[in-house]
């Protein structure tokens, strides 16, 4: 059970954001990259929302372009897929659990644990929730579908630390065959040490490496002979090496990688 990208170029309105990407995303996978790198576009392509101009994206062997009525194959927390009808969040959840074959009771109990009780869900439309609440709502909905493959785009964004910890525990205990989490937050590397990690820069993927290896590595400009990974992006080359360089986790967010490289290896903390 795996998500396969074969030479996939994915984008919008005729413009490819990801170019000829090939990867096998199976088990537990982190996509780590700065904002605008193409993580969300990759997920939208696999979810059938963004256009695939060349190559293909397969979910458990099913081409996403020709997939029809395949409940249980894929769940995702992309907020735009929860805007089918003008409904309050409770009825939207009820509808999606029905259509995707999910567990409404599970979803409600997990949302309650994240501070989203039924009263609130019945009062607000999904797009009327705060940014953090919407992330929690869509992420729990995706997990509750019980789909074999789950895509979670920036699930921790704008959540407070306590809710981040609870949501992380829910994601870690998911029984899905494949869970792919896209994020720009490096703190996850130490918490999800066994996860297979791809770096995403400028519409391309590098990896995989274990999250714990990445957590213990640093970034140095140029091409290092002992590199775990060498990444080329926007005309800059960087190597991820064990035990030296600017620690990946110290960057907090990979948005600061370009700042690091342009400054020749020094980054303001």
């Amino acid at each position: 059970m795996v998500i396969i990208l074969r030479g996939a170029s994915i984008g919008y309105r005729g413009e490819a954001v990801l170019r000829e990407v090939s990867a096998e995303l199976g088990g537990r996978v982190l996509l780590l990259g700065p904002n605008g790198a193409g993580k969300t576009t990759l997920m939208r392509g696999v979810a059938g929302i963004a256009d695939i101009y060349s190559g293909e994206a397969l979910v458990d062997g099913v081409n996403v372009v020709s997939a029809r009525g395949r409940a249980g194959l894929l769940g995702a927390n992309l907020p735009e897929i929860y805007e089918l009808l003008y409904l309050d969040a409770y009825h939207a959840l009820e509808l999606y659990m029905d259509l995707l074959g999910g567990d409404l009771g599970y979803a409600l109990s997990k949302l309650r644990a994240l501070g989203l009780g039924q009263d609130l869900l019945r009062r607000r439309k999904p797009w009327e929730l705060s940014a953090g609440q919407l992330k929690a709502f869509t992420t729990v909905a995706a997990l509750a579908t019980g789909a074999r493959n789950i895509l979670l785009d920036e699930p921790f964004e704008q959540l407070d630390p306590a809710h981040k910890a609870r949501l992380l525990s829910m994601i870690a205990s998911s029984e899905a065959d494949t869970v792919v989490v896209a994020t720009h937050e490096t703190w996850l590397l130490s918490r999800l040490g066994d996860w297979s990690t791809y770096l995403v820069f400028d519409g391309r993927l590098w990896g995989p490496v274990r999250a714990r290896d990445l957590a213990g590595s640093g970034i140095v400009p140029g091409r290092a002979s002992d590199a775990l990974l060498v990444v080329e992006s926007k005309g800059l080359t960087m190597s991820l090496v064990r035990g030296r360089g600017e620690p990946v986790t110290r960057l907090l967010s990979l948005d600061r990688v370009y700042e690091l490289l342009l400054s020749g290896g020094e980054v303001a903390s």
């Binding site: 009525g69 003008y86 009825h91 009820e94 259509l99």
Partner: protein, 282 residues
């Protein structure tokens, strides 16, 4: 009934814009028809044709206002196409709501929603007329009335989808704004035709005009011309002057042709349309 069907009906009929503009605003105009424009009808209460005249007048009121209510409510369907394009692409692929099931359930739920909105208008207008004229207007042919309302609902549903899909593919905000309101703009065309006479051809060329006339006929028992119905009411209905009524068979045939053409257009546009993130449309 499926969850999607029930919640789609709920999402349209309980939409705040629909309640405000398709129900209460149109009810205001129904009250105007009864209490202001038609206030002097009671002068003829002693005439033998009084009850028939009230029925025809009330049918003209709710026939035209029902079309406006449907056209106004259909805006939410157009907006649904815009906001829900990404959701539709995902769900048709990865949920039980495949394209075929979505098509059938969405058509049925949307049409029912529009018919419910029109029925609210009809019942309210009948109640207002009963209060003002002391005549209970009962449709002569309720089955035909129901069929005409469904046909009108399907027409506006298909028009809403065509507008929505074209709006999705246009980059201009102004064009998109007009397309979003196209069903409402369209619904005022038959309303204007009540007051001006352009012959029956207009009723064959454009279904809402023809269907409006047929609704008046289904309620009053007398088929009016396609256009100039107010004039028909004052001259032919009351004074017995001769006129040429709309041909129901020809109007039905051209309406069916429109519905089939629009359905094919919807299918083709749906096939070609890409998902657009709602934020891109703001």
């Amino acid at each position: 009934m499926t969850k999607y069907f029930v919640l789609k009906v709920r999402s349209v009929t309980l939409h705040p814009a629909v309640i405000a503009w398709s129900v209460f605003f149109v009810l205001f105009w129904a009250a105007m028809w009864v209490y202001v424009f038609g206030s002097d009808i009671t002068r003829y209460s002693a005439m033998p044709w009084y009850q028939e005249a009230v029925a025809a007048y009330v049918a003209t009121a709710f026939g035209s206002l029902g079309v406006v209510a449907m056209g106004s409510a259909a805006i939410t369907l157009t907006q649904g196409v815009l906001r829900g394009s990404a959701a539709t692409r995902f769900l048709t692929r990865f949920s039980r709501l495949g394209p075929g099931r979505l098509l059938v359930e969405d058509l049925a739920a949307s049409t029912l929603s529009l018919v419910i909105i029109a029925l609210i208008e009809i019942v309210a207008t009948i109640a207002l007329a009963w209060q003002r004229y002391k005549v209970l207007v009962e449709p002569r042919n309720p089955l035909l009335l129901a069929a005409l309302l469904v046909a009108m609902g399907v027409f506006f549903y298909e028009l809403a989808l065509v507008s929505g899909y074209i709006a999705l593919n246009t980059a201009s905000r102004h064009t998109r704004s007009i397309l979003t309101s196209l069903t409402l703009i369209t619904s005022f065309i038959p309303y204007t035709m009540l007051f001006t006479s352009h012959g029956n051809l207009a009723g064959y060329l454009f279904p809402p005009i023809g269907l409006q006339a047929l609704i008046v006929g289904a309620v009053s028992g007398k088929t009016p011309p396609a256009t100039g119905i107010i004039n028909w009411f004052q001259t032919s209905f009351i004074k017995g002057e001769k006129y040429t009524p709309i041909d129901p068979r020809l109007a039905t045939a051209t309406t069916l042709l429109w519905l089939i053409t629009l359905a094919l257009l919807v299918a083709e546009l749906a096939r070609r349309t890409k998902a657009v993130h709602p934020a891109e449309l703001a």
